[in-house]
């Protein structure tokens, strides 16, 4: 019935992970990490709740049926106002139950807080509205996608360069706010191969709901090939397009419509001879208007310090800088920009 | 509003220069009215304590995070002016307490005198406060004309705290982090407190107006009492502000 929606081409994020499987009780998705305490306690609490709910509604329904007022002057059958043993029982028993829940929950959360010594440390950088990942012993970053090895403890340093975000992987049962100015940590051990959702769970503005990353949990062999570092030197524009989709597409269009920032279409144009040349742009340098020609140096500068030469008509301070973006990726982005050029 | 012919309790005036007081229609006795207003006012004072409490919590929090910055920040303020202001406020609190006492004992002219002295105290306090703010402005620590300037993303600096980093350096001459936090908290706390001083002075003037008409006497002095409580609260808050801001421990 909803198949047409699931295949909707203009959807949410371009290419989300496969829908997760649902566990046997239908309330949670199948666990994909070692934090089984979450599921155990969830269903224990759930069962307790169902038990009490059935008692409460059962007594209510029974009373409504049996003690319903049939004549308007019918008095109550009983005028009992208290029953000390009963009141003690329904105070003490819930108290014991909730203390069990507390202890169980706290023990489980201590596990979540204590990072094992052998964990591999990754870094997840959040900014409005995308995720960037750094890998241990690798200079490469990946954008909007993350690769982890199955059954290896993965720990993350969480960094934000603007507002609050939250690192949330439902199937791993982990969540942690990403706070600017403070490094938070989170860890888990992925136990299933496959693709998983990584959501931003703390409201962070306009495209909060599009702040998504796809997490691949792969085998040791595949992980060893460094799938995040795949960069096709023969086709840099393709890599550049991936960078665009992960980092730039929320503010820059490729169809000529200005968004928060100028569109990338028309940054490079084909001259009369069909050769690619940079377009002329009016920019502000320290408040003074200049006309420059778009070239590699200008694009690189705009990525690393956006306010140095600001396009006329766009506000300062509205673009996050990417000083750590590798040169080959910047070149890829420029190649991608060139593919957007149209002939005269 | 009309009381529909309900007749109310009246407290007679103790002398010709005073007015009688009519108890509000929904109270049965003057004691009930007095106690209700008093309880309500104490509750209000409790909310004031909690309102300032938020600021104090912020102060203690950042004092904990940046102790050295706060210590040096405190040294930029003049403890002498602070101590002087503390004394002025304590004196005015005393005159206010005496004023309430005069109202309780139906001494109309002395009530007016003590209230006048209290307002004078408030005025002196605000003048000293102004001198202090002006000194901060002249030293470029807090530039009031730049108050609304936007945060400069490129430099990470705030124009209205222009020179604090020149004043606040450690022994090696390195600027201490986030000195503006101390000044921002100092300004916020003293400005909100100053606002209370001004409101308090206004209330005392209002009391004086009523006192001149003879509204307050031994049988009815509730407004004097309440305004007095408010004034003491202003004093109470300053008692904590003084050591925390001027003598940063």
């Amino acid at each position: 019935m909803f198949a047409h929606l699931i295949q909707d081409p203009k959807n949410y994020v371009e290419n989300p992970a496969r829908p997760p499987e649902v566990d046997a009780y239908g309330q949670l998705t199948k666990l994909a990490s070692t934090f089984s305490d979450v599921d155990g306690l969830f269903y224990f609490t759930y069962a307790v709740c169902v038990f009490f709910f059935v008692i409460i509604t059962g007594v209510l329904l029974y009373s409504v049926v049996v003690y319903r007022r049939k004549t308007f002057d019918q008095p109550a059958l009983s005028n009992v106002t208290h029953n000390t043993p009963l009141e003690v029982v329904w105070t003490v028993i819930p108290l014991i139950i909730v203390m069990v829940m507390f202890a169980w929950g706290f023990r489980g959360s201590l596990d979540m807080m204590t990072v094992p010594a052998d964990a591999r440390w990754y870094k997840a950088s959040a900014k409005q509205w995308n995720w960037t990942f750094n890998y241990p012993n690798s200079a490469a970053q990946s954008f909007g996608e993350l690769w982890l090895e199955k059954d290896k403890n993965a720990a993350f340093v969480l960094e934000s360069s603007d507002v609050l975000h939250a690192f949330y992987m439902p199937e791993m049962r982990v969540k942690r706010d990403v706070i600017p100015g403070r490094n938070q940590t989170i860890w888990f051990n992925p136990t299933k191969l496959g693709e998983f959702h990584l959501f931003c769970a703390e409201y962070c503005g306009n495209d909060h709901s599009k702040m998504y990353a796809k997490v691949h949990v792969v085998t040791a062999e595949e992980y060893a090939t460094k799938p995040w570092d795949k960069w096709d030197d023969a086709n840099p524009a393709k890599g550049g397009e991936a960078v665009y989709k992960a980092l730039c597409s929320s503010c820059h269009s490729v169809n000529g419509t200005p968004l928060v920032g100028p569109s990338w279409k028309g940054l490079f144009v084909k001259d009369a001879s069909g050769a690619l040349v940079g377009a002329q742009r009016e920019v502000l340098v320290n408040g003074a208007k200049q006309t420059i020609t778009v070239d590699q140096a200008y694009i690189t500068e705009s990525i690393k310090s956006p306010d140095a030469k600001k396009s006329v008509g766009f506000e300062k301070n509205n673009m996050t800088a990417f000083p750590a973006l590798e040169d080959k990726k910047i070149l890829g982005v420029i190649e991608y920009m060139k593919t957007l050029a149209e002939g005269k | 509003m009309s009381h529909d012919g309900h007749h109310s309790v009246v407290i007679p005036a103790p002398g010709p220069e005073f007015q009688a007081h009519t108890v509000a229609h929904h109270f049965d006795t003057p004691v009930q009215e007095f106690q209700s207003a008093k309880l309500g006012f104490w509750l209000f004072l409790a909310t004031e304590i909690l309102l300032f409490g938020g600021l104090f919590a912020a102060y203690f929090y950042f004092h904990e995070v940046y102790p050295e910055t706060f210590r040096l920040g405190g040294q930029q303020l003049s403890w002498k002016l602070g101590a002087l202001n503390t004394s002025v406020l304590l004196l005015s609190s005393w005159t206010m307490a005496m004023g309430v006492r005069c109202a309780q004992t139906s001494q109309k002219s002395k009530l007016l005198m003590y209230c006048g002295l209290t307002v004078l105290g408030a005025a002196i306090f605000m003048v000293i406060k102004f001198i202090e703010y002006k000194a901060k402005n002249d030293h470029g620590l807090v530039v009031f004309s730049e108050l609304f300037s936007p945060y400069n993303e490129a430099t990470g600096q705030l124009a209205w705290f222009k020179d604090y980093h020149n004043a606040m350096v450690d022994k090696a001459g390195v600027p201490l982090p986030h000195g503006h936090l101390f000044f921002a908290i100092y300004l916020t706390m003293t400005a909100i407190h100053g606002l209370h001083v001004v409101i308090g002075a206004g209330l005392i003037l209002w009391v004086m107006k009523g006192a001149a008409k003879g509204r307050f006497h031994a049988g009815y002095y509730l407004p004097v009492d309440l305004v007095g409580l408010y004034w003491h609260l202003v004093d109470l808050i300053w008692i904590f502000l003084f050591p925390l801001l001027y003598l940063v421990p």
Partner: protein
């Protein structure tokens, strides 16, 4: 009326003198470094002064029990804000020391404070 307590002028004056002396002591002790106890001492003196103002100037000493409870409970609830907020901050350090293995920060990572625009 019986419920109205009128205090003597002499008492008010004595309280004023005590308050002024305590102000002097506050300034005096701040000149001496007691280390971590500085804050405690300053707050203790301020609390004594505040108690004097409350008890005598504000007549709380002769006020009804409910008024005392109401006003003092505001300090109690304020202390809850203080205690829990500081407890969080104070124990965060223990967290990193005891629970979280330190992250071996990769050389290539750039700390946010070093980013342009920070």
């Amino acid at each position: 009326m019986g419920h109205h307590h009128v205090s003597s002028s002499a008492m008010f004056f004595n309280v004023l003198v005590a308050l002024l002396i305590l102000t002097g002591i506050t300034v005096g002790t701040s000149r001496i470094d007691f280390g971590a106890a500085n804050m405690m001492i300053a707050m203790a003196i301020a609390s004594v002064k505040a108690s004097l103002v409350m008890a005598f100037f504000m007549h709380l000493k002769w006020d009804t029990a409910i008024n005392k409870i109401i006003f003092l409970s505001s300090f109690l609830f304020l202390s809850l804000l203080f205690i829990f907020t500081f407890a969080d901050h104070a124990t965060r350090r223990m967290d990193t020391q005891w629970h979280v293995t330190k992250a071996p920060v990769d050389k290539q990572w750039v700390h946010p404070s070093q980013l342009v625009g920070k």
